[in-house]
């Protein structure tokens, strides 16, 4: 468990002091895939670097399983960094070393024997799906492949926590999806807690279970991804959930009830879900807003449906849609 307590970070620059983070408090539980999302300059990268003390917090503390990381010596901290590893937007592979030696790098730092390190690296290449790239150099690989090598390297020391700093921002949508699938798999199979820094809501949507929205150095909103998506409270959250401000133009007719349907990887790409609901359940839903996209045969995104006001109809619709799987349905109350 990682607890961030009242953390602030100020930078002294030539133009005065800049408050990058203000009184941040967050708790990341073991096994979470925790998203920290915000626009450029919101302080996300600084926050993630405070978690492994690459940046020292000006105030506040970071506790890992109750241990205050700020109180550790440099040497002790190096040990902790084998438990909290990191991947980056720019991959940051050693360009003069083979993929195998890149993956061995953190083990070499930790003093693991060469043969043992190599064996572990080969296993990791298998896990990230690039067993034939051991002797290739990073420059010979695509961006997605390079990030896979970086992930293998980050897993080498068998960490408890993996920090991802805009790890998919330099990748195309398809590759982003593949990398996110890999991270999800790692989280599930190896039980590694993952903290993801991103500016892309789609990334949070796709794999995170909890999210904190960072805005101007403060946490604007925090909670379950589905809850934040279904009913964003803060302006920052609304901006991220509805990047085009589409929500403003959603017409809500008098007497109409509105459901938000969040598709979180539903297997619905091939099926006309809303039409099917009309046929099967005889419910005529009015699509008020929709922003969905298909990745493979799965659907991500969300939709606002207008329904007739009878309670029974709404219940049936919720039941029908929920049964699809990986779909989250909540009723939107008030003016959405």
């Amino acid at each position: 468990m990682i607890e961030i307590k009242n953390l602030s970070k100020t930078f002294r620059t030539a133009g005065g002091t800049v408050e990058a983070l203000k009184n941040i408090s967050l708790t990341v539980n073991d096994g979470d895939i925790y998203g920290i999302i915000g626009m450029s300059g919101a302080g996300k990268s600084t926050l993630v670097r405070c978690i492994n003390m690459l940046e020292r917090p000006t105030e506040g503390a970071v506790l890992m399983d109750g241990q205050d990381l700020g109180a550790l010596t440099q040497k002790e901290l190096r040990g902790v960094r084998r438990d909290v590893t990191m991947i980056f937007q720019g991959f940051n592979l050693l360009m003069q070393k083979t993929c195998l030696r890149n993956i061995c790098f953190p083990l070499e730092l930790a003093g693991v024997k060469k043969a043992e390190a190599k064996k572990r690296a080969m296993e990791l290449l298998e896990i990230v799906g690039l067993p034939d790239k051991a002797e290739s150099y990073p420059a010979q690989l695509s961006g997605g492949q390079q990030q896979r090598i970086a992930i293998a390297r980050a897993l080498a020391t068998q960490p408890k926590v993996l920090l991802c700093d805009e790890a998919t921002s330099a990748l195309d949508p398809k590759t982003t999806h593949d990398i996110l699938e890999l991270l999800k798999d790692i989280n599930e199979r190896l039980g590694i807690t993952i903290i993801i820094i991103t500016h892309q809501m789609s990334v949070v949507e796709e794999i995170c279970n909890r999210v904190a929205i960072l805005d101007g150095g403060v946490v604007a909103e925090e909670g379950e991804v589905s809850a934040v998506f279904a009913d964003p409270q803060s302006d920052a959250a609304k901006r991220l959930v509805f990047p085009d401000g589409e929500e403003e133009v959603v017409p809500v007719h008098p007497g109409e009830r509105v459901l938000r349907v969040v598709f979180n990887g539903a297997m619905a790409a091939g099926a006309p879900l809303i039409t099917q609901m009309a046929i099967d359940e005889k419910i005529a839903a009015n699509i008020l807003y929709a922003s969905t996209k298909c990745l493979g045969d799965k659907v991500y995104g969300n939709m606002l449906l207008g329904l007739p006001e009878e309670e029974e109809t709404v219940q049936r619709a919720v039941k029908y849609l929920t049964e699809v799987g990986n779909v989250l349905v909540t009723e939107v109350t008030g003016n959405a």
């Binding site: 492994n52 690459l54 901290l77 190096r78 040990g79 902790v80 960094r81 084998r82 590893t85 990191m86 980056f88 720019g90 940051n92 050693l94 360009m95 003069q96 070393k97 790098f105 953190p106 070499e108 730092l109 930790a110 150099y137 990073p138 420059a139 010979q140 390297r153 020391t157 920090l163």
Partner: protein
């Protein structure tokens, strides 16, 4: 001058000198250049690393005063003209080699002149490195020494080789000057025969051999740097 240069007499005389003295002079020049470069790298490489690692935001921050002294000393040594430096270091040369004249003695002023230059070249090589790579190593728990030895140096190898090639060709040029203090080699032949005894053809040949040597060192260095650079898709 030109009309006297290519008379049959001058040519046969030049050929004789070429046959008798050039092989040894070539050996002397190569030996002095290679040794002086090696020593300059031994001294300059750690200094160059300190110049980068010792900075305020470097991996091994050193006190500001130390960095300041280091920079001033390097600049000072680099600003003394080589001809004067050769004479200034006579006492040091005598201390190390036992004499201040001769081929081996000329290595000392060459090293003194070249190591601050090498330090600056190493500094510029290491500064080319992507700072995110160093952050990556820190995030993996690397110590400052591990970052220097396992990340900064290996990742800079192509650039370091290119810069060491610049160093060796520059030092080769300087060896020619050391002919003045009795250093042997092609420089000595050029000065003794060409300048003092007006045998311009000998001087010309010595200079041409120097040019060929520079070309040789440069192309070997460039080839090596490219060959070892794994960012290039071979």
């Amino acid at each position: 001058m030109l009309d006297k240069m290519f008379t049959s007499e001058a040519i046969s005389e030049a050929l004789l000198i070429l046959k008798e003295e050039m092989p040894f002079a070539l050996w002397e020049t190569t030996y002095v250049t290679v040794l002086a470069t090696a020593f300059a790298i031994i001294l300059g490489l750690p200094l160059g690393i300190l110049l980068v690692a010792g900075e305020k935001d470097g991996v091994l921050p050193l006190p500001k005063g130390v960095m300041h002294v280091l920079n001033v000393v390097i600049n000072l040594l680099r600003s003394i003209p080589f001809l004067i430096l050769m004479i200034l270091v006579f006492p040091l040369t005598r201390l190390i080699v036992g004499t201040s004249v001769g081929t081996t003695a000329s290595i000392v002023p060459l090293v003194i002149a070249a190591f601050p230059f090498v330090a600056r070249l190493v500094e510029s090589s290491l500064r080319e490195l992507n700072p995110n790579i160093i952050e990556m190593a820190q995030s993996m728990g690397a110590s400052p020494m591990q970052i220097i030895v396992k990340v900064m140096l290996p990742e800079s190898i192509p650039s370091l080789i290119s810069n060491f090639t610049i160093a060796i060709t520059t030092i080769l040029g300087y060896t020619a000057m050391s002919g003045i203090i009795g250093g042997g080699g092609l420089g000595k032949i050029a000065i003794n025969y060409g300048y003092y005894r007006y045998k311009y053809l000998v001087m010309l040949i010595a200079v041409i051999i120097l040019i060929i040597l520079v070309q040789l060192f440069q192309s070997i260095g460039t080839k090596l740097a490219v060959k070892l650079d794994r960012r290039v898709k071979h």
